[in-house]
Symmetry: C2
Subunit: 356 residues, 2 copies
């Protein structure tokens, strides 16, 4: 048997990188000892002196552990995967940020894979399956599946091979745990804020009424009004495309439906883009915000809400928190907690700025 190392061929500059073996040799101990020290295994007995020698050798050689090899040997990768359309349409990019931060501070890596989930059973299902497949090849210990818009989804079958958590969407097949914003409470807090400011005639600029966000938020609106002994007048609700133009049109409808003295004194826009349009409609009519009409938005799209003039008071979608919670939930699952189809609601806080 040849000795452990084959002689390095002269020509090959093949920078092999320094391994635990090199450290061991340099410190005059066995590789096992190095491994013990590096992993802080208190159950193995290594003298303080040797410990120090090894640490010095690590320093001297600039040793850097090989995560892949470690994963292979220990059968755990410390990797999570996230597959998401957010990569392709970065509206809710904070989900990634939250997940990333949480994973990172837990000493894990988050592998990010793109997907083109169509709005329903995607036209591009293949890409998504491939993404999951790729992640599983990397032996991720768990999967996050995130959407840009709160909605129901079908998860690729192979995702069931490891613990999986849905973020900002929920499993239409009802098998996986999910984390979604508490739309209802969000709608409620917005209206409560307006009521508190003395507004009783509140216009609502609605989204497509079929999507979960609209359903939840509107229910919250009704609840808040009911608590104050009021009811939601259908005349005060207008729906439109989820754009600034849509918001402009809807605001015009509502505002022009009444003579000045009967006009609603506040508008609750179910997203910030629509609020942006509503601003224009209001200003065009020579009305002041919030003097004549108060406005509350939803989503807290920083670039809009924080830069509109006056700055927009809005309900924030807790993307970052949902991402973090996703990773935490995943950690619990991979630690052995049983998988259930539980749904965690995350609070949508009201951000007070200057439009109320």
């Amino acid at each position: 048997m040849a000795k452990t190392t084959s002689p390095d061929k002269p020509g090959t500059a093949r920078q092999r990188g320094v391994t635990m073996n090199d450290v061991a040799k340099h410190a005059g101990v066995s590789r096992t000892a190095v491994s013990f020290v590096l992993n802080n295994r208190e159950d193995a007995s290594i003298s303080e002196e040797t410990r120090v020698r090894i640490a010095e050798a690590v320093q001297a050689l600039g040793y850097r552990p090989n995560a892949g090899a470690r994963a292979l040997a220990s059968q755990r990768s410390d990797w999570y995967g996230i597959v998401t359309e957010i990569v392709t349409a970065p509206f809710a990019v904070d989900i990634i940020k939250g997940a990333q931060d949480q994973a990172w501070s837990d000493g894990r890596f988050l592998l990010i894979a793109p997907s083109d989930q169509g709005d329903a059973a995607g036209p591009n299902q293949g890409m998504e399956d491939a993404a999951v497949e790729k992640l599983l090849e990397q032996r991720v210990e768990g999967l996050l599946y995130a959407a840009t818009h709160h909605r129901g989804v079908h998860v690729p079958p192979s995702a069931h091979e490891v613990p999986t958590v849905l973020v900002n969407c929920f499993d239409l097949d009802g098998k996986l745990p999910s984390i979604v914003p508490d739309e209802r409470a969000g709608g409620r807090v917005a209206v409560e804020r307006l009521l508190k400011a003395g507004h009783t005639k509140i216009g609502v600029i609605n989204l497509d009424p079929r999507i979960p966000a609209a359903v939840g938020r509107l229910q919250g609106v009704r609840e808040a009004l009911a608590d104050a002994g009021l009811e939601l007048d259908p005349e005060l609700v207008a729906a439109g495309y989820a754009t600034a133009d849509g918001g402009y049109d809807a605001a015009c409808q509502i505002l022009d439906r009444y003579p000045a003295k009967d006009r609603p004194t506040a508008l609750f826009c179910l997203n910030d883009r629509m609020a942006m349009g509503a601003y224009d409609a209001i200003k065009e009519r020579g009305l002041a915000i919030p003097g004549d009409i108060a406005v509350i938005g939803f989503d807290n799209q920083e670039l809009i809400a924080a830069y509109l003039r006056p700055k927009l008071t809005t309900v924030a979608l807790p993307f970052e928190k949902m991402g973090a919670l996703g990773v935490q939930t995943l950690a619990a699952l991979t630690a052995g907690q049983p998988i259930t189809a539980s749904q965690q609601l995350v609070d949508c806080p009201l951000l007070e700025r200057s439009s109320v």
Copy 2:
């Protein structure tokens, strides 16, 4: 202390995963044969019949290669790493998207690591070093280093251990290749557009004049004017904070400096947020966009530019393209191309909307 030995019995289906050995057994061949087939090695001779048998076994068993083990054995991970503050401040998130897409379609993974690069030699240099270190532990084959704002940076020393490319920033130590937007050409194209529309008196709302973006864009402005035989009148330039409020103030300054008939007929705002503020200043004065005053922005922040009313014509920062080009450059470097401190300029296209 802990029972590390887990007989495969207990409740948790310790799903060992099927390996190449299993496939080999199932197909009645050696593991080597399987490896050859899976890697499509044309130099090894395997009969068509065996090939098929192996493929069937792979199917039947649902075999999935272990990327980590493959990386270990083949000494190549197919991973790139990107360390960036973009994760923490997602302004230029499209850089990640571009890089991710490119890497993905090249069959590689992009590991994303966060950093808190302060604006100068960061207060949080430690975090950044740690990020690079972590990526190197994963044995990434190359590094991307990206910033949210075009500027000079110092790269952590260990980044020099693998090919590294800077994106949207450049190496103050002048050793690494970088990819940055062509600010100068961007400024030029904006002004040329205004000139073409007949504007000759053009106000400029400037950024902090020391940053590379301002320097470059302003130079472009001068060039375009010079080509038309004009000069940049200092009176027409106002700087401000890079916010909507800053833009509002600066626009007021410029507009109120002149009587109505001498007023500039166009404003070039060096970023979209300032353009947002300028819009307000213009509208407040009862002027129409673009009828009385045309506006061009810079950055193409979708949420602003596409939703302002009228929609903002602006010069786009080519984040996505820079990200993609970063990965391409990295691929060339890891393929053996020598590392130089070359700087690639990426075009900033003008996006025509409705404000000119």
